[in-house]
Structures are given as structure tokens and as C-alpha cells.
Amino acid sequence: MLEIRDLEAAYGDIPVLSGVTLSVGPGEIVALLGPNGAGKSTLLNVVAGLLRPRAGSIRFDGADLASVRAHLVVERGVALVPEGRRLFGTMTVEENLELGAFAARARATRAAGLERVWALFPDLRERRRQLVRSLSGGQQQMVAVGRALMTNPRLLMLDEPSLGIAPRLVRSIMESLAEINRGGVAVFLVEQNVQAALGLADRGYVLESGRIAGHGSAADLLRDPHVRRAYLGPLAVRE
């Protein structure tokens, strides 16, 4: 579904990604792991069209995505929940969600999309008229996921959805991602919380210094001594 081949990207003169090749299949949940500064967010931003790649190809369902402008990437069915949520804080929950259905393809399914979000996050329905900035971090993350869902995506990308959120809510967010996935949406997840990410994912890639340093099934990655040492911390190694 998503095929990335030999991707190179840079901010100005500073190279961030080199020779990245990876894929996400239909209905899959794929995790992208790696230390801070490895280029994980950059990779998602390139796919979303916010940053142009230097070289390489990005294809979605066989069609080129690398030269498509960001708002049209959304139209193709690829949504990104950006790092730090990036909600419209001066607007209500409902307004944020409705803006998610701005693209033509999503507008047709707006009512159904809203129902889907309310079903997934019942808390939000009660707070639909509240300004987003008055919500807790976890609730804001729900709005961010909901807004992306409103675009009616076939591939949902998330950049660190667990960042700054109470552990109890991390589990609930991960469960809702599994629920979204059961509805037929492929999920591509960047996470620092490796345990949570691999608990959810089918497969994972490890990105280090802009290169793919490893990949495998979630179970294999969880057993991999390098991954355990680097991302699960000393406690995980001891247990």
C-alpha cells in the first residue's frame, strides 16, 4: 500500500534520511522505532507532503506520492497525526473535527465520520462545544486522532501519540488505534514508547541516524537484544 524506496531527505544542507526503504501493507500496523533525532518525524512529514524528498520514491497504491502537495496527500487517503497534536486551540472540539473533513472526499462521509469518532471517544462527544485548549493532554490526543480519522484515511500515520500523556490514557489510545485498524485502516506509528508500540504492531522498523538499522515482526523485535538494550532500558534487559 505504502512503498518507500531509497528515500533521501534533508533540512537545508543537513541530511536527515538516506536510503530509507520500507513498506506498509493494507490493514497492517507498522511501528517505526528509533532514538531522538533519527529522522522518524521527518519521514512522516515527507510522506505527508510537508517536506519534499531529495531523492527516492514514495508510492501509495502504486501512484507517486512524493510530488503531491500536502493537502492533496490527504485527499489520496493518507492522514498524519503530527507530533504535539497541532490542534486548532481557539476552536471547539467539533470545529476541529469538522475541519478534518475539509477535503472533498472526506466531506461526503462527514456525518458517518463524526459518529465514528464519537463511538471511539465517547468523552469527546460530551465536550464537543468545549475549546480544545481547555482539554487535558490525553483528550487533546483523542481530538487529534479524531481529526485525522475525519479525513477518512486508508493509512493513518501517528507521530508519538503517547508523548506527554498519562500512562493510563496511553493504553486507551493504543486500544483505539487497534479498533481503528480493525475497521480496515492501515496504521504507521512512530513511538518512543516501544513496549506500547510493539504491543500493538504487526511489524516494526528501527531507524538510526536516518537509515533503516533493522526490521522484523513485532515479536522478533521485542526479543532482539539490541532493541531491548537501546529502547527498552536496563530494566527490560534484566527481566
Binding site: 502537495r69 475541519l99 481529526r147
Partner: protein, 289 residues
């Protein structure tokens, strides 16, 4: 006492025009992150459009708004496609710098063009009912300026509704708040820029019309109106059009008060003092988000 009240009233009446003049600038700056210092010249051009609509077509001055606003919107589209559309491709810091250069250049060019076409003379619109005055409790209210204030308020109210309810109005607000997030929801941010700039120029045209009706127009009024609009934008802050209008009223009253207290020449000083004080004490402005 009644003299002071009369002066404050006149300040309030012109304050509505400050608010309207600032609304367009605020919208363009808030959404495009482009500081259009030629905004006053766009007001000046709107003033001439109104003048000629009245002089040549014999329109009622207020009816001429129905012609001036669409023409100004078209002018805004042309300016965006020809000039500012290139500026918004740069990152935000470069945008403000480049827009200053382009804005000053545009202001000079439009000023020179206006002198060339219409001479440097002051012109105003004179209507049969232009001198009418309503007396209320010892205060005389010039009818034309009262209607101008009402029109300015109605336009701001309309703009507020447009941004609150219209699909693209919401897109413009979203773009102002976070253009990358707007892109991620499928909003064509460049179209939002184009619309905001065109609406901003339409508001400048409306302001120019009211300025010419209530006062006068000449090729050199641009800088003064850019300054007033800038002061109001700083005073009110970005994000609320109603707030911008209130900021305009406040500036008008403050000018009148300082003229009454310290003498006429101090009218212009108070705005600059407000400018500096707000930037130091409350940089996001009174109603800024």
C-alpha cells in the same frame, strides 16, 4: 464638559474607520504572516474608486461600496497573483522581511501612480445631505459619520460571521492558527492565503470609501492610514475582528482625549505611545489569542 464630550464623540466616530482599516491589515498579517505596509495605499485607491463612482456614475456615496468592494477584491486577487503569492512561499521569517520590501515598493508605486493619474489634490465627496447633523443632549452628531460608523460595524460583523460560519472562513482561521496543521486536514493553504488577501483588500476599499465620504482622499493619505491600522493591530492583537474594531474605537477616543487634554498636535502622539506601551506590557494585544 460638553466640548470634551463632543470631541470624544467625534473620536469614536473616526475610531470606527480605524477599526475597519485595521481589520484588513490584521487579517492579512494573521493569516499570511505578511505585513502589507501598502495597506494604506489600498485604502487610498478605494477612496478614489468611490470618488469616481460618485462623480462619474452619480452613485450615492454609500451605494458606491457595492462597486468599490468587489473592485478592491479583484485588485487583491491581482496583487496576490502578481506579488504576494511569491512571498508566502518563503519561510515565515523571510516572509515578513520580504513583504516589508515589497510593501514599501508597492506603496511608493501606487502613490506615484495616483499623483500621476489624479494629481496631488485633495478630493472629497459632497452630498446634498452631507452637512446634516443630529442633536442629542447638546451633542451634534454628523449624520454621514454616524452612518459610516454603522456601515463599518456592519462590515466587521459580516466579516466575523464569514470567518465563523463559512467553510473557507474556518479554513482561513485554521491556516492563521497553524498552516501546517491546516494542510494536514486537507486545506489548500495557498487558496486560504489568496482569499484572506482578497478579503483584506476588499476591506481596505471599504475603508477608503468611508474615509473619502467622511473626510477626504489624496494620494498621500496612505502612510497615515497604514500607521493607524498598525497601531490598532498592535493594540487589539490578532485573532478577533470584533476586537480589532473595538481597538479602533479605543484609538479614536484616546486621540480625541489627548487632543483635548494637551492640544491638537498631541492627537498623533497618543497612538505611538499606545503602540510602544502595548508592545512592552502586553505584546499579544488586548484581545489577542
Amino acid at each position: 464638559m460638553s466640548v470634551l464630550a463632543q470631541q470624544l464623540l467625534l473620536g469614536l466616530l473616526i475610531g470606527g474607520l480605524y477599526g475597519l482599516a485595521a481589520a484588513g491589515l490584521s487579517l492579512v498579517f494573521g493569516v499570511l504572516k505578511v505585513l502589507d505596509v501598502a495597506h494604506g495605499e489600498l485604502i487610498m485607491l478605494g477612496g478614489y474608486m468611490a470618488f469616481f463612482a460618485v462623480a462619474l456614475l452619480g452613485l450615492d456615496p454609500f451605494v458606491s461600496l457595492l462597486l468599490v468592494i468587489p473592485l478592491s477584491v479583484l485588485l487583491g486577487l491581482a496583487l496576490y497573483w502578481g506579488l504576494f503569492g511569491f512571498v508566502v512561499r518563503a519561510d515565515e521569517e523571510t516572509r515578513v522581511k520580504n513583504s516589508l520590501l515589497i510593501g514599501f515598493g508597492l506603496a511608493l508605486a501606487l502613490h506615484a501612480l495616483a499623483v500621476r493619474l489624479w494629481t496631488a489634490d485633495e478630493r472629497s465627496i459632497i452630498t446634498p445631505w452631507g452637512g446634516s447633523v443630529i442633536s442629542v443632549g447638546g451633542l451634534s452628531i454628523p449624520v454621514v459619520r454616524l452612518v459610516s460608523l454603522a456601515v463599518a460595524f456592519a462590515l466587521i460583523g459580516g466579516l466575523h460571521l464569514l470567518l465563523a460560519r463559512w467553510r473557507w472562513g474556518k479554513a482561513i482561521r485554521a491556516t492563521a492558527e497553524d498552516w501546517q496543521a491546516a494542510l494536514l486536514t486537507g486545506i489548500d493553504v495557498r487558496r486560504a492565503y489568496l482569499l484572506a488577501f482578497a478579503i483584506g483588500t476588499g476591506l481596505a476599499g471599504a475603508a477608503g470609501t468611508l474615509v473619502t465620504i467622511g473626510y477626504s482622499v489624496s494620494p498621500s493619505i496612505g502612510l497615515e492610514w497604514t500607521l493607524k491600522a498598525l497601531i490598532v493591530v498592535v493594540l487589539a492583537g490578532l485573532g478577533s475582528m470584533i476586537g480589532t474594531f473595538v481597538g479602533g474605537l479605543l484609538l479614536g477616543v484616546a486621540e480625541a482625549a489627548s487632543a483635548a487634554a494637551f492640544g491638537g498636535p498631541y492627537r498623533e502622539v497618543v497612538g505611538l505611545v499606545i503602540f510602544v506601551v502595548v508592545l512592552v506590557v502586553r505584546p499579544r494585544g488586548l484581545f489577542g489569542r
